[in-house]
């Protein structure tokens, strides 16, 4: 097994080459970018429609909810861009394609991730970043956030990528035992991330507990933002949230390594 640094270097080179390959189809890229941006904006339009009619959602106004939505979109867009192959991992298990990764002298995860990127998914992140920008500006203007807090929000938005990435990694690791994992993604990924678009306080206790423990999407936006906006929590959440995200990623990688040892090829 090679060291981590050469593996990372190889991964970056693979990403560069995958990105170049995608850019050969520039029109496809731009159309995709716009499409994902519009799709994400439409989802937010629905939230905005609810908040046009009822000005507050569990005590949060449209800019505050917009901040949550934007942060989650940035994270999810980055994950779908760079974790494209992880998201499609069921294929590797069903068709026995994982064998091809095992014979290479690199950590399988890096090889897998370097195989493909979907830069058009950045449309989702860009839309999210725009929303974070608009909402932060408004909240800064009203004095709800200061400049340092806005910078913190931007940093956590990007770091939040670790959460969907780790959820996908754990789901993929689970696949080493059960093979079919696509159906699990709705439960483990889509539902929690959609839930994180809204203040978690509106949900029943059991759901709130789920979203801040086993499926910790709350830490990529709600938990720190709730404190920053003076709606609950203590200052400790500002360092605890990034720590939880990193810890969750380490745990997810551990699951992946464990699962990898249990891999049995399907044979073709």
């Amino acid at each position: 097994m090679t060291g981590l640094l050469p593996a990372v270097q190889l991964y970056l080179r693979s990403v560069q080459s995958a990105m170049r390959a995608k850019m050969q189809y520039r029109a496809d890229f731009i159309t995709g970018l716009l499409l994902y941006g519009v799709l994400s904006a439409t989802d937010f339009l629905m939230i905005a429609a609810i908040l046009t009619r009822f000005p507050r959602l569990g005590g949060w106004d449209v800019y505050e909810v917009g901040l949550l939505y934007g942060m989650a979109s940035v994270a999810m867009g980055l994950y779908r861009t760079f974790g494209a192959e992880l998201h499609e991992f069921e294929r590797y298990l069903v068709r026995g394609e994982f064998d091809g990764l095992l014979v290479r002298p690199w950590p399988t995860l890096f090889t897998l991730l370097g195989r493909n990127v979907e830069p058009e998914r950045l449309g989702n992140s860009l839309q999210g970043a725009l929303l974070v920008g608009i909402c932060s500006w408004r909240l800064w203007e009203t004095g709800a956030l200061d400049a340092l807090e806005v910078a913190y929000v931007a940093a956590v938005s990007i770091m939040g990528t670790l959460v969907p990435f780790s959820l996908a990694l754990i789901t993929a690791a689970f696949g080493f035992w059960v093979v079919r994992i696509d159906e699990f993604q709705t439960f483990v990924m889509y539902a929690p991330v959609a839930a994180s678009h809204y203040p978690l306080t509106v949900y029943p206790g059991w759901l709130r507990a789920l979203l801040t423990s086993v499926l910790p999407v709350g830490f990529m936006n709600f938990v720190p933002v709730q404190y920053l906006l003076g709606k609950g929590g203590g200052p400790w959440v500002l360092w605890a949230s990034p720590l939880v995200m990193v810890g969750f990623a380490v745990l997810a990688y551990g699951c992946w390594r464990l699962g990898e040892r249990h891999y049995q090829s399907t044979g073709t």
Binding site: G32, M46, A49, R53, F54, L57, Y203
Partner: protein, 264 residues
Amino acid sequence: MTRPMNAYLLFAAKAYRLRLQYRAAHLVNNIASAIFGFMYMAIWQAAAGGSPAADAYGGTTMVHWVAFNQVMLWASVFLTRGLGIPEAVRTGVIGVELLRPLDFHWLALSREMGNVVYSLLHRSLPLAIVFGLVAGVHVPQRPVTTVLLAGGVVLSIYIGLCLQYLIGISSIWTTQIRAANHLFFTLHTAFSGFLVPIDLLPRPFDTVARFLPFAPLHHDPARIYLEMAGVDALLGPVVWAAVLTVLCRGLTVLARRRLEVQGG
């Protein structure tokens, strides 16, 4: 020789039996779907629960609205992408499909109907029971509502099938349907009334939504179910069912002429 009608039923029954193999995996998805439902209910209750309803869309109504649409989602929206036509185009199987002495449009629809019946029994019904137990059931007061609702649901499923058919048949020209599929879900999210009733959309989106074939998927049958509308809510779905039928059949004729068999 099998009569065509029996052949369509046979295809539907085969699709149903095929789905039965994946019941366990679908159970997990049902749990996720229930969570989505509870999430949307909680959001509406948080938004509308505290304030008095200025019109028909109060907190309790919206809980039933969300439950109904979450149940309908599996019957009329979460269908096989492009009804499986893009895969047939990619692999070249489409050539054999079009050679069959059957109507291709009805063939694709009847095969998917097997999946729809499966979804109604194994996805929609369990969801309806869970929502009913947790959030209560809205029982229509007028007997005629049941008849209208049946019509609304059938038209919603038919229109959902036709829209997926259009996405699928487009692959004969475009080979892949990713963009069309995303466009469908974007428009569905915004204009079907799935989460936000069309009446509550800001202008001009509410007007636009009334002239698109997405309202019959959720908004119209939901209004019938909650007795906010009568037979008038079936007008749009009937017109759209007719228009989409003509469109589907017209495109099928064009597709036959355009067909290039790929792969092999």
